[in-house]
Amino acid sequence: MSTHVPAGFKWWSGGKSPYNVSYGKLMMWLFLLSDTFTFGAFLISYGTVRVSHEYWPDPNYVFNAFPFMGHANLPLAFVSLMTFILIMSSVTMVLAVHEGHKRNRYGVQKWLGWTILGGTLFLSCQAWEWTHMITGSHAVLINGQVEHIGSTIAANPYGPVVPGLTDHGHAVTQPGPVAFGGFFFGITGFHGFHVFSGVLLLVLAFVWTRIGRFDRVGHYEMVEKIGLYWHFVDLVWVFVFLCFYLI
């Protein structure tokens, strides 16, 4: 980073970008800024509804399953794995951008490949988690009857425990706040949709890198712009992770 402009250089005199960024990159940043407010609005509305309830399920009780581990109680283990995968894919993305700065086609190709793998793995994990949430049934006391229900946008089995009532050795709960499912599936789904479209963009960048498009153009800025989007997806996950799984 040794390049410096002369002292008193007039950035706002016209004829160039006063921010020293291209139109495309500026627009990507502004889009991400607006998307920040979209996700922010979702998460804040979730916060509003959550604090308005006397009772809200503790994530340690809700997210305690792991694939192929049966009924083992492993709170937050699976989501930690998902978080690690996404952080790792952010690292491989920034390495791809780094190779792009050096105009190294094979380096870009290699790291984009790893990033696509990370994104796909994350989506697969999310698919498993959703399936488990929706199909896994829990004993819930509804209108005086014990019913077995899963988590959907219309039902939440994670209510307070009914004292002294068990069903096949498991505690029976009251229904939890219905809003839980809507917010959980809505927000993680919207985030997952961002990951999905990010993977599509990465595949496009991979193909363009492979056929030498960026070498012909002379720069790898497209990889940088898609990289910005990908890091943003990771950034949003930091807050989804915080709001749904930690707090």
Partner: protein, 149 residues
């Protein structure tokens, strides 16, 4: 040659095509990936610390009180630190001009009021529920650990 070209000609890289004619100079590529990996380890440590805190109130059976608020506050601060590292290092916002950094970051201060106002509203809503809900309140119900399978 225009006035601007004379001024900035020496700033551009000789062998590289600029991504756009709007750009005055391009950053020299970092010589190695040390900074990237350092940031990765920082992010990993922060995440592990968050997880430890998230599991601590479960393991220690803390369901309310100052300690729980403290743990949650600490997790929020750790998440904000992660966000700063991702934006400044991975998204290279730290390398951009100050005017650009501020253009992106200043609008985010709206979140301060956004969060305060809506959580305030949520609390007011809770007061209304306490006052008017006819359903048996489920106040202070303890969760039985690990029984939801």
């Amino acid at each position: 040659m225009s006035h601007q070209d004379q001024h900035t000609e020496h700033l551009t890289h000789p062998n590289h095509t600029l991504a756009s004619p709007e750009i005055t100079y391009e950053h020299e590529p970092a010589s190695n990936t040390k900074k990237i990996w350092k940031t990765f380890w920082i992010l990993l440590c922060l995440t592990i610390a968050e997880l430890a805190l998230g599991l601590s109130h479960y393991a220690l059976n803390i369901h309310e009180g100052f300690l729980l608020t403290f743990i949650k506050g600490a997790m929020i601060i750790l998440s904000l630190m992660k966000a700063i590292y991702i934006v400044m290092t991975f998204m290279h916002l730290g390398d951009e001009l100050k005017s650009f950094r501020l253009t992106i970051l200043i609008p985010l201060t709206l979140f301060v009021w956004f969060i305060l106002a809506f959580l305030w509203d949520g609390v007011a809503w809770k007061e209304l529920r306490r006052k008017f809900d006819r359903v048996t309140p489920v106040e202070k119900v303890e969760q039985t650990p690990g029984k939801l399978n």
